[in-house]
């Protein structure tokens, strides 16, 4: 009896000791489907690491971006792991705000990360954030409407074909718009789409001397094509539409085509949410034959701020959440179709995933078609496909986005929007010391 009591006491004491020494790490993240799923699966992590406790701060994307930027710039130390994108990683890594991820464990297999994604998250060959899910953009289209229009979507269409198909598929009487594209102003909204589109028209934000290029014919052609296409075949009120608005339209069968993030494929092909789930086809983002396609590259990634006091625990968590084992865990619990896409080459070689996700190959091809280090036809001094990885871009990109959104809404002409964009960009770059 005494021995049993003693053993029970020792067990309780050791459990209390573990609890007392449990290190708590705080993770800031966005409210995306894959992130929510990760929160639900953290028992797997805590059972393997009983000495680490996880706290989640989930925020809307813009608020998250503002919060983590404030925290990291002031060394507030509120977070031990941050969810950030490919825009922040190169800028923050150069400021020494992030810890290099060089201790992710022997089984991590960093070489398996898709090279285009790893390239966007590395500075000087060092990985500063581990991709949780990656995406490019591509064309999602209604196979039935395309057939009705008497056309066949090629795997790699041109903008000319997209324009023709969109106009033919438009059926205003039945509330069907030939094409749905982003119009809502913002550097991560319409400018993500338009910057990627402009790459395929041979345009660029800046020349090698950081001189803004909105006064060049390539931008005029990009914006003209976009505005005319949306006026002819886009939904009404398109200047307010972002990802979610277009997703709702497409799922309700009101779009013939939608060019947007590859992660949308899992939404539009899900019969529980989408009325057109069995009618969706996929194609690469369009080009104009100049060698660059209008697709972007993005990865929501987990990074560790340099100011954290819990780097080891944070690194353990990052390794777990972005590992091959995590993909297997999601597949086991939620099915292969729900595995976070776009991060690991091995996933796209997995026959089970290929079967569950008919868009898998096109997603990988789209990701591979984007090169953040050489995003444009002409040479540029910056990194980033749908953004320019400089701190000034968030403000400038949103200002230009507002002008282009106004042009789409018919509040100003394309020429005026481009002229004002050129002036705004010149002022910003002069103020920032990039140009004299």
């Amino acid at each position: 009896m005494k021995l049993t009591t003693l053993m029970l006491g020792l067990c309780s004491a050791s459990l209390l000791a573990v609890a007392a020494h449990a290190e708590s790490i705080t993770i800031a993240t966005v409210n995306n489907g894959d992130m929510i799923r990760m929160q639900k699966l953290t028992d797997d992590f805590t059972s393997k690491n009983p000495d680490i406790e996880l706290n989640w701060v989930t925020l809307e994307e813009n608020v998250l971006r503002e919060r983590v930027t404030t925290d990291i710039a002031t060394k507030g130390g509120q977070y031990d792991v941050m969810t950030i994108g490919t825009y922040e990683v190169p800028i923050w890594a150069k400021q020494n705000w992030l810890l290099p991820l060089d201790n992710l464990g022997d089984n991590y297999d960093a070489a398996d990360i898709i090279p285009a994604i790893a390239g966007g998250l590395s500075v000087d060959g060092k990985l500063y954030a581990a991709p949780f899910y990656g995406e490019s953009s591509f064309v999602m289209y209604r196979k039935d409407l395309m057939e009705k229009a008497g056309l066949t979507m090629p795997d790699a269409p041109t903008w000319e074909f997209i324009g023709e198909a969109a106009r033919k598929m438009t059926d205003r009487d039945n509330d069907i718009n030939g094409i749905c594209l982003r119009g809502k102003a913002g550097w991560g909204e319409n400018m993500a789409f338009l910057t990627a589109m402009s790459n395929s028209f041979g345009a660029r934000w800046f020349d090698e001397e950081w001189k803004p290029q909105f006064d060049q014919p390539e931008w005029k052609e990009t914006l003209d094509t976009y505005v005319k296409l949306m006026n002819d075949a886009g939904p009404s009120g398109a200047s307010s539409n972002g990802f979610n608005e277009n997703l709702a339209l497409f799922q309700q069968g009101k779009c013939g085509m939608w060019i947007d993030a590859t992660v949308a494929a899992s939404f539009v092909s899900n019969p529980q949410d989408s009325t057109v789930a069995d009618k969706v086809g996929y194609a690469l983002a369009p080009d104009t034959g100049l060698g660059k396609r209008g697709n972007w590259l993005w990865a929501w990634s987990l990074a560790i701020p340099a100011g954290t006091q819990k780097a080891d625990a944070a690194q353990k968590f990052v390794a777990w959440a972005t590992s091959k084992d995590y993909l297997e865990l999601v597949a086991e619990k939620e099915g292969w179709a729900n595995v976070p896409p776009g991060t690991r080459t091995s996933l796209y070689e997995n026959p089970k995933y290929q079967e569950a996700a008919p868009f898998a190959k096109m997603t990988l091809d789209s990701i591979n078609a984007a090169d953040p280090t050489k995003p444009t036809v002409k040479p540029v001094p910056y990194v980033g496909v749908q953004f320019v990885a400089i701190p000034e871009f968030q403000g400038l990109g949103t200002t230009v986005g507002q002008l282009f959104s106004a042009a789409l809404a018919g509040q100003m002409s394309v020429d005026d929007a481009l002229k004002q964009a050129q002036d705004a960009a010149t002022a910003t770059m002069t103020e920032g010391g990039y140009i004299q």
């Binding site: 409210n31 639900k40 701060v57 925020l59 809307e60 919060r67 507030g76 990802f243």
Partner: protein
């Protein structure tokens, strides 16, 4: 003599008032309706009749423990209101009954602090909070909310106190009442409707404050504003869940407002017509 108002005129005014009230309340009503829809129903266009599913509420509760941010909201809004009243009652008393040449200027200066956009002082405030160890603390946020709403509380109380005849306070002084007794036993009971409505308004303002409460908290002090914010998604349609989270967040203050509306209206219109 009161002007005669025809029944027809009364009916028109009543109907117009109901229409305006309905239009103002409609977004809240539609949020509540959407919270009882599935995600597919929520995006399917305008529909006032939900299927009645409670799956969004279940999902919201499974994803985030409602009780903790709810308690934080209660503590922050009540705490900041009581603290604001402690400071504002003497301040308003002083300005109402012992005004100086600068009283109006001080009142205007206090109000002018509300004209500055909050984001302008985000970084300095963040650094102060960091250095004082107040990030993600209820104490820090209570002080912050007190300071934010103090100008409005002082202004409202000042207006109410001005309605109270100074002679009554003088009489109390003649009877030997100390300053403390004068404020507690004479002034405060007479200003109860005003203080109550100020208190209610301040609780509502503190409950709904969404700039600082989201930016200065993380886990421990995060109130319901942070709770709602966590359900907004840039990629994915979670409108029903967001509506359920919003309904849960506004329900307590909505119920409180409903029960105390008489007091609130009486206080807000106190002294409006002289």
């Amino acid at each position: 003599m009161a002007r005669a108002v025809s029944n027809q005129h009364k009916t028109i005014v009543t109907v117009a008032a109901w229409i305006v009230a309905f239009l103002i309340f409609f977004p809240i009503l539609y949020t509540i309706i959407t919270s009882f829809k599935s995600e597919t129903e929520a995006i399917a266009g305008f529909n006032m009749i939900p299927s009645g599913t409670t799956e969004s509420y279940e999902e919201v509760q499974s994803q985030y423990n409602y009780f903790k941010p709810f308690m934080n909201s209660v503590i922050l809004s009540l705490g900041s209101t009581l603290l604001a009243l402690l400071i504002a009652v003497p301040a308003a008393w002083s300005m109402a009954f012992s005004p100086t040449r600068r009283t109006k200027d001080i009142l205007m200066w206090m109000l002018s602090t509300k004209m500055m956009p909050a984001v302008a002082v985000l970084f300095p405030m963040y650094l102060i909070f960091r250095d004082l160890g107040l990030l993600d603390s209820r104490l820090g946020l209570t002080v912050m909310l007190t300071m934010i709403n103090l100008p409005i509380v002082v202004w409202m109380l000042y207006t109410y106190f001005r309605e109270i005849p100074g002679e009554i306070l003088e009489a109390a002084r003649m009877d030997g009442a100390s300053l403390w007794n004068e404020i507690i036993h004479v002034l405060t009971p007479m200003a109860v409707p005003g203080i109550a409505s100020t208190m209610l308004l301040n609780i509502i303002l503190a409950w709904n404050e969404a700039f600082w409460t989201i930016r200065l908290t993380a886990i421990e002090a995060a109130p319901l504003t942070a709770f709602i914010s966590s359900f907004s998604s840039p990629q994915g349609l979670f409108w029903a869940k967001l509506s359920a989270a919003s309904t849960l967040a506004i329900a307590p203050i909505l119920i409180m407002g409903w029960f105390s509306q008489k007091q609130l209206v009486r206080g807000l219109t106190f002294g409006a017509v002289k």
